[in-house]
C-alpha cells in the first residue's frame, strides 16, 4: 500500500517521462473551471484576488488558452474577450471596447501593462496591441483584462480597459523551449524561452522573438490612377520585428526588462503620403526596465515599491509631394511608485499609494520637446461587511503640471448569496490627459482632459460543475473627447460627448480536462451625445465563441468564430457584417509534451471583410487578410 502511494506521489511530482496528458497538467483549463476561477489576478486591485472577488469585470486568458487556440499575437488573444473588437489599418492594431474605438485614437484609452509596467508610450499614449507588441506569447503566463475605468488605481489613460500581460516566472518555466514558425505571406518566426530557479533561490527567465514577413500587395480603389500604379501598393506590407524579455527575482526583489523593435511598411498612403512609394514605414521601439520590491513588514503591513524607466522611439519615413520626410518621436518616462497595504483586520484592507513620474518627449509634428511631471496619490479600502457582502471604495488624485488636476473615484458592492452566485454593482470614473501632440496642437493650447463615468451591474453564476455564466449591463458617459478636427489632422479639440448602454453575456465551460468552450454576445449602443447618430467604428452586435477538444491523446483541435454587425465609417458609410472562423490543431506526439506541432488557420473560409479606416486614411474601409496559415514546431527541454 505504501509503495503504491509512493509510486503515485513520484509520478505526480517528479519530472520524469510518464503519461503527462491533460490530467497531469496543472494549467487552469486542464484542472477544470475551479482552477480558472481560483487563478489570482492582481490588476483589478493591485493585489491578488480571484476573478470572482475582483470589484471589476475581469477576464483571464491563460497560457493554456494561448496554446490550445494557437494565438500567435496579443490581438488574436484579446479578440476572444467579450465586448472587445479590433481594427487593423495595415500599420497598427486598435482595440475597441464596449462600442468605443475612435478612429485614429492610437489605443490611448486602453492601458497596457507588462508585469504591472505601463507599455503606453509617452507621446501619443499608444498601447501596442498587434504585431507591434514584441513580447513572445510563449512567455506569457496569463493576460488579465479588466473592462471599465481603471484610473482610480492607474491614473490617466485607463479609461475603458486595463490589460496586464503577466509573464512566466523562471520557476514556472523550469526549462528551455524553442520554436520555429512559418506561414503565409512569407512569414518566418523564431522564439526561445528559458527559465530556472537556481539553488540560491534566484529565479531567472529570458524570452526572445524574431520575425519577418513579406506581406502582400494591396489594391485600393481610392488610388486607382495610372500615376499611382492603378491603386496597387506593391511590396509595402512587409514587417520585421524582434523583442526580448528578461527577469531576475530573488527574495523580495525582482527585476524585469524588455526591449523590442517593430518595423512595418505602410501601403495605405495614410496622412496624405504619396501612394506606392518604396520605403514608407514606421519603426517602433519600446524598452523598459523595472525594479520591484515586495515585502511583508509586520503582521498586517505589506510594502510594494517599484521604479522604472520606459523608453519609446518612433522612426519612419514617408513621401509627401515627391519629397521624403522623416518621422521621429521619442519619449522617456522615469518614475517610482510605492504602496502600503494595511490589513488592520481580516475583514478590512486599506491600500495607500503614491506615484511620481517625469516624462520627456518630442514629436516631429509639433517639433517641440516637452517635460511633464505627474504626481499622484491613491487609496483604496476593501471591507467585508458580512460573510456575503463586500464593499470597495477608491480614489486617486493626479497632479499633472501640463494639465488640470484630476480626481478619479471608484466604488463597488459585491454580494455573494451563495458560493455559486456573485452580484457586483460597480461605479468608476476615469480620465485621459491630452497627449503631447494633442496638448501642443490645440487652439491656444486649450485642450482639457477627457473623461468617462461608468456604471455597471454584473452577475456571475456557476451552474453545474465546470460552467460559469456572466451577464453585465453597463452605461457610460464620455465627455470632452479629444479628437482631430478640420482638414489639418494635427489640430485637436474637446469636440463632444458620447454615451453608451450595453449588455454582455458570456459562458465559459470547462467540464473536464478534455473539453473547453466559451461563448459570448455583446450588444453595444454607443452614440454621440444628444444625437441619434451611432459612433463610428462601433458594431452594435458581436457574437463570438470557441471550442477546444482533446480528441486523441496526441491531438487537440480547436475552432473559434467571430461575428460582427456593420460599423459606421468616418464618411458615414457602413462596412458589411462578417463571420470569421479560425481553426487550430495542436499535435503533441510525445507523451511528455516535449514536442508540439501547432497549425493555425485564420479566416478558414476566406471571408472578405473590411474594417473602418481612420481620419488619416483616404480609404473609408480597409480590407483585411483572407485565409492564411501558420505552422509552428516547438521543442521543450
Amino acid at each position: 500500500m505504501r509503495s503504491k502511494h509512493l509510486a503515485l506521489l513520484a509520478n505526480l511530482v517528479i519530472a520524469a517521462p510518464f503519461p503527462a496528458r491533460a490530467q497531469d497538467s496543472l494549467s487552469p483549463s486542464n484542472s477544470g473551471l475551479d482552477a480558472l476561477l481560483n487563478t489570482k489576478v492582481s490588476t483589478a486591485a493591485k493585489y491578488s484576488q480571484t476573478m470572482i472577488e475582483a470589484a471589476s469585470a475581469v477576464s483571464i486568458i491563460t497560457s493554456e488558452d494561448i496554446k490550445q487556440y494557437g494565438y500567435r499575437t496579443l490581438d488574436e488573444a484579446l479578440a476572444s474577450v467579450n465586448g472587445f473588437y479590433l481594427t487593423y489599418d495595415r500599420g497598427y492594431t486598435y482595440l475597441g471596447t464596449r462600442g468605443f474605438s475612435r478612429p485614429t485614437d492610437y489605443n490611448n484609452r486602453v492601458l497596457l501593462l507588462v508585469d504591472g509596467n505601463t507599455m503606453n508610450e509617452g507621446v501619443w499614449g499608444t498601447a501596442p496591441l498587434g504585431t507591434e507588441f514584441t513580447v513572445s506569447l510563449a512567455s506569457i503566463e496569463r493576460i488579465e483584462v479588466v473592462r471599465g475605468p481603471g484610473s482610480a488605481l492607474y491614473g490617466p489613460g485607463a479609461m475603458f480597459a486595463v490589460v496586464n500581460v503577466i509573464t512566466k516566472t523562471g520557476t514556472g518555466i523550469d526549462g528551455l523551449e524553442a520554436a520555429v514558425q512559418g506561414g503565409s505571406y512569407g512569414q518566418r518566426r523564431g522564439t526561445v524561452l528559458f527559465g530556472r530557479r537556481l539553488r540560491s533561490g534566484t529565479a531567472v527567465m529570458f524570452s526572445g522573438l524574431i520575425e519577418g514577413k513579406d506581406g502582400q500587395d494591396h489594391y485600393y480603389p481610392e488610388f486607382d490612377t495610372p500615376e499611382t500604379n492603378h491603386g496597387v501598393a506593391h511590396n509595402l506590407d512587409w514587417e520585421r520585428r524582434w523583442g526580448v524579455v528578461g527577469g531576475v527575482a530573488h527574495g523580495d526583489l525582482a527585476l524585469h526588462a524588455r526591449y523590442g523593435v517593430r518595423t512595418k511598411a505602410i501601403p495605405t498612403g495614410e496622412y496624405g503620403a504619396d501612394f506606392n512609394v518604396p520605403d514608407t514605414y514606421y519603426r517602433d521601439t519600446h524598452g523598459a526596465v523595472q525594479l520591484e520590491y515586495n515585502r511583508d513588514l509586520a503582521a498586517a503591513y505589506h510594502l510594494s515599491a517599484r521604479s522604472y524607466v520606459d523608453v519609446f522611439q518612433l522612426k519612419g519615413q514617408a513621401s509627401y509631394g515627391g519629397a521624403q520626410s522623416p518621422i521621429t518621436a521619442h519619449s522617456t518616462q522615469v518614475g517610482a511608485e510605492a504602496a502600503l497595504r494595511w490589513d488592520f483586520h481580516s475583514s478590512s484592507r486599506l491600500t495607500v499609494g503614491a506615484e511620481v513620474r517625469e516624462s520627456y518627449h518630442g514629436d516631429y509634428v509639433s517639433g517641440e520637446h516637452r517635460q511633464e511631471t505627474l504626481a499622484s496619490l491613491y487609496l483604496q479600502e476593501e471591507y467585508q461587511i458580512s460573510g456575503r457582502l463586500t464593499a470597495l471604495g477608491g480614489l486617486r488624485f493626479d497632479d499633472q503640471r501640463t494639465s488640470d488636476n484630476a480626481l478619479s473615484p471608484r466604488a463597488a458592492l459585491i454580494y455573494a448569496p451563495s458560493h455559486r452566485t456573485t452580484l457586483k454593482a460597480l461605479y468608476g470614473e476615469a480620465l485621459r490627459a491630452p497627449s503631447t501632440l494633442e496638448a501642443g496642437a490645440g487652439a491656444d493650447n486649450a485642450v482639457d482632459p477627457e473623461g468617462v463615468k461608468t456604471f455597471e451591474l454584473l452577475w456571475q453564476q456557476r451552474f453545474s460543475r465546470g460552467y460559469l455564466s456572466t451577464m453585465s449591463v453597463y452605461q457610460y458617459q464620455a465627455h470632452g473627447l479629444i479628437e482631430a478636427t478640420g482638414d489639418n489632422l494635427t489640430s485637436y479639440a474637446n469636440t463632444g460627448e458620447a454615451d453608451a448602454v450595453g449588455v454582455e453575456m458570456g459562458i465559459q465551460a470547462r467540464p473536464g480536462q478534455y473539453l473547453a468552450w466559451y461563448g459570448g454576445y455583446a450588444y453595444q449602443d454607443a452614440r454621440a451625445d444628444n444625437s441619434e447618430t451611432r459612433l463610428t467604428n462601433s458594431p452594435v452586435h458581436q457574437l463570438k465563441g470557441g471550442v477546444s477538444v482533446q480528441t486523441l491523446p496526441w491531438l487537440r483541435p480547436a475552432v473559434e468564430f467571430r461575428y460582427e454587425s456593420p460599423r459606421r465609417t468616418v464618411i458615414d458609410t457602413e462596412t458589411d457584417s462578417y463571420l470569421l472562423t479560425n481553426a487550430h490543431l495542436l499535435i503533441t506526439p510525445r507523451e511528455d509534451d516535449r514536442v508540439a506541432l501547432s497549425i493555425r488557420l485564420n479566416n478558414a473560409f476566406n471571408t472578405r471583410y473590411a474594417l473602418p479606416g481612420g481620419t488619416n486614411d483616404r480609404q473609408a474601409a480597409i480590407g483585411q487578410d483572407g485565409r492564411n496559415v501558420s505552422v509552428q514546431l516547438r521543442y521543450r527541454h
Binding site: L6, L26, D34, A35, N38, D174, S347, A416
Partner: protein, 182 residues
C-alpha cells in the same frame, strides 16, 4: 532564514482539488501519525470567517476531503474540523479539545504566525498548507508549483518540532527547507 512573522494573504499555488489529495498522500509518510490515531484522523482547517478568500478555500478543502476514499489516510477515515480564527480565543486549547492531529492553513490576512506555531507545537499538531510561502515561514508541509508539476515543500525543522517523523523516501521527493528551530 528566520521563523515566524506574519501570514499575509498569499496564493494557493496549486488548485485545492489537486493539492488536498496530494497532501493526504503525503501524510501517509508521517510514521508518527498512525500511533496517534483513535478511530479517525481529525484534520483542522484553519480559516478566517471574515476574509472571503480564506472561507472559500476552507469550503473547497471540505469538499475535496469529502471526496476522498474512507481509507485515504493510513487506512483511517478523516474527520474535518473547521476552526474560524476570527472566533477562536485560544487556538492551542481548541486544537487539544478537538483532538486535531493535522492542521491545514488556508490563506489568511494579518495573522501572527507565532500564535499558530506556538499552538501547533504545544499540541504536537502537524501543519500543512496550499500556500508555499507559509512553509518558508514555519509551516511544516506545503505544495508549490514547479513548471506544470506540483512540488512538495517540507520545512524539516518545523515538522520535527510538531512531532512528525517523515520518511526519507518522502524527503527525497521534496524541496526541503531547513531552519534553525524555535
Amino acid at each position: 532564514m528566520t521563523e515566524g512573522g506574519l501570514l499575509s494573504a498569499q496564493e494557493v499555488a496549486i488548485p485545492v482539488e489537486v493539492h488536498v489529495p496530494l497532501l493526504m498522500k503525503i501524510l501517509n509518510y508521517d510514521r508518527s501519525l498512525a500511533a496517534k490515531v483513535h478511530g479517525d484522523i481529525p484534520i483542522g482547517v484553519l480559516y478566517q470567517g471574515k476574509y472571503r478568500t480564506s472561507s472559500t478555500v476552507a469550503d473547497e478543502v471540505r469538499t475535496a476531503i469529502a471526496q476522498l476514499p474512507d481509507d485515504a489516510l493510513s487506512g483511517f477515515p478523516v474527520r474535518l474540523i473547521a476552526i474560524d480564527l476570527d472566533k477562536t480565543e485560544n487556538l492551542g486549547r481548541e486544537l487539544v479539545s478537538q483532538g486535531v492531529l493535522v492542521l491545514y492553513l488556508t490563506p489568511m490576512r494579518a495573522v501572527d504566525l507565532d500564535v499558530v506555531l506556538r499552538a501547533s507545537r504545544d499540541a504536537q499538531v502537524l501543519t500543512v498548507t496550499g500556500v508555499p510561502e507559509y512553509v518558508e515561514t514555519g509551516i511544516a508541509i506545503g505544495i508549490d508549483r514547479r513548471g506544470e508539476r506540483p512540488q512538495i515543500v517540507i520545512n524539516l525543522t518545523a515538522s520535527q518540532a510538531e512531532g512528525a517523523d517523515l520518511s526519507a523516501q518522502l524527503l527525497k521527493l521534496a524541496r526541503v527547507i531547513k531552519q534553525k528551530g524555535r
